[in-house]
Amino acid sequence: MSVIDILTRVDAICNKYDKYDVEKQKNLNVSGDDAFARGYAAVDAEIEAALEKAELASKEKSKASIVALNAELRRTKAKLLEEVPKLQRLAIKKVKGLSTEDFAARNDLVLALPDRIQAIPDGSAAAAKQPGGWGPSASHTEIKFDSDGRFDDEYFQESEQSNQFRQEHETRKRRQDQGLEMISEGLDTLKNMAHDMNEELDRQVPLADEIDSKVDKAASDLKNTNVRLKHTVTQLRSSRNFCIDIVLLIVILGIAAYLYNVLKK
């Protein structure tokens, strides 16, 4: 391990445990009586955690985990927003041992809280796309109204632009439908052919098994025949040797007879 590694690791560990350290100090300072400080510290910690999660979400690659993290963030935000009015009430209460400056500061802090909570990015900011981009918008987020609720007559008038857009949308959808129909027919044919191939193969399996067994039998028959043939051939050859023996014997007998004749004379 290099020195740099050691340093980074020590830094990380200190940071982790610093948290506890600071909390302890704060708790000692506050002496456990000040509900506001406690609540505020808790909300602060939760905001920090939420910001961390938001950063994680922005770095995530898989859409499903992004969606899950964003949903969790929104839940946390809603919870924190609920806590804010409680904290406001606590802030107004006078606590002994607190200076007026601190008191004013508390109020400001509490007022700043909602903004900070809203500022936590949770993916809904990205969804406020212009409807000029066509096709179904990926609205897994809240529906945002551009006009802040001013629904007067003019708002619902069909503009030329929106008509055109709708027509284009319909034509493209029709073309898509046609393409999809062609694909579906092709797939039908493929499915039919695949089924037929399946049945054909099923038909041929027992035939192949029969061929297998017949060929095995033929092979063993051949082996048998070969072995017998070898035996026969060796026998034949040795019988040739046998004939040579007989011939030599006759020659010797002839020589013996000749010698006998010579000796008799």
């Binding site: 027919e185 039908d188 044919t189 039919n192 037929d196 049945e199 099923d202 038909r203």
Partner: protein, 293 residues
Amino acid sequence: MSSDPDKLVAKADKLTKLTLTRWSADWRNATLNYEQAANAYRVAKKYEKAKDAFEKASKGQEMLTSPWDAAKHMESAAALAKELGNWNDVADLYRRASELYVECGRAQPASDALGKAARAVEDHLPDVAVQLYTDACSLLEEDDKDQMAFDLYRALTAVHIKLEKYTDAAAALLRLGLAADKCNASNSQFKAYLSAIVVYLYANDVKAAEKCYNDCSQIPAFLGSDQGRCGSRLISAYSEGNVEEIKRLAQSSTITHLDHAIIKLGRKLPTGEVTAVKAGTEEGEGLDEDDLT
């Protein structure tokens, strides 16, 4: 051995005829001679003589208790008879060959022989062809080789449709379905059922088609399959009298995957008056209510 086939045949005949000097016929040599003569005739394109020589050779093989070779010779004889155009002969020779194959215990070549016979005569003697196809299918089914019977059933259906005997065609298709069921060939089975429904509709027999559909729906897999859905849509289109729907369904891909003969029938749907069916079903509903009460 002289290569003149006539001489060979004469020699072989002499070998087999029992006379005072010859007490037992020499079938082996005779068969050899007959075979050689038959081949020579075939090369010389003398089909009549070749056929006769093959028949005699086959008889020789039978005498030598080798039914397989006998059957093979019979088949060759039958093929030559086909060249000659003696349809009755063709049928008889192929039947004889199939019997010999059955003697060997080989059902597959037996049914093949009958199939070839049926294919040869189906243009000229369709009834005989029907009989041959049916026999071939039963041979295979006895031997549990249903898969091979599919093609034969399809050919049988085509023959029936050509003869315009639509009930028979539908019956053949249902038997196809039964054979397919035995081997778990569900795709072929469902296609067979849908074809039967189409044939009934073509014959303008909507009631029979509905009955057929209901029977086939006993098999749950059929209901949920492509073919089952197409069938139900066809029947409902017929009962509503919706001609465009019928035409559209007939062009759909499910019908296109069936046999050629059935596709031709499907394209010609609907036949006859379709609106009349509406009144018929209303009557049917009235009867149903009576039955319920």
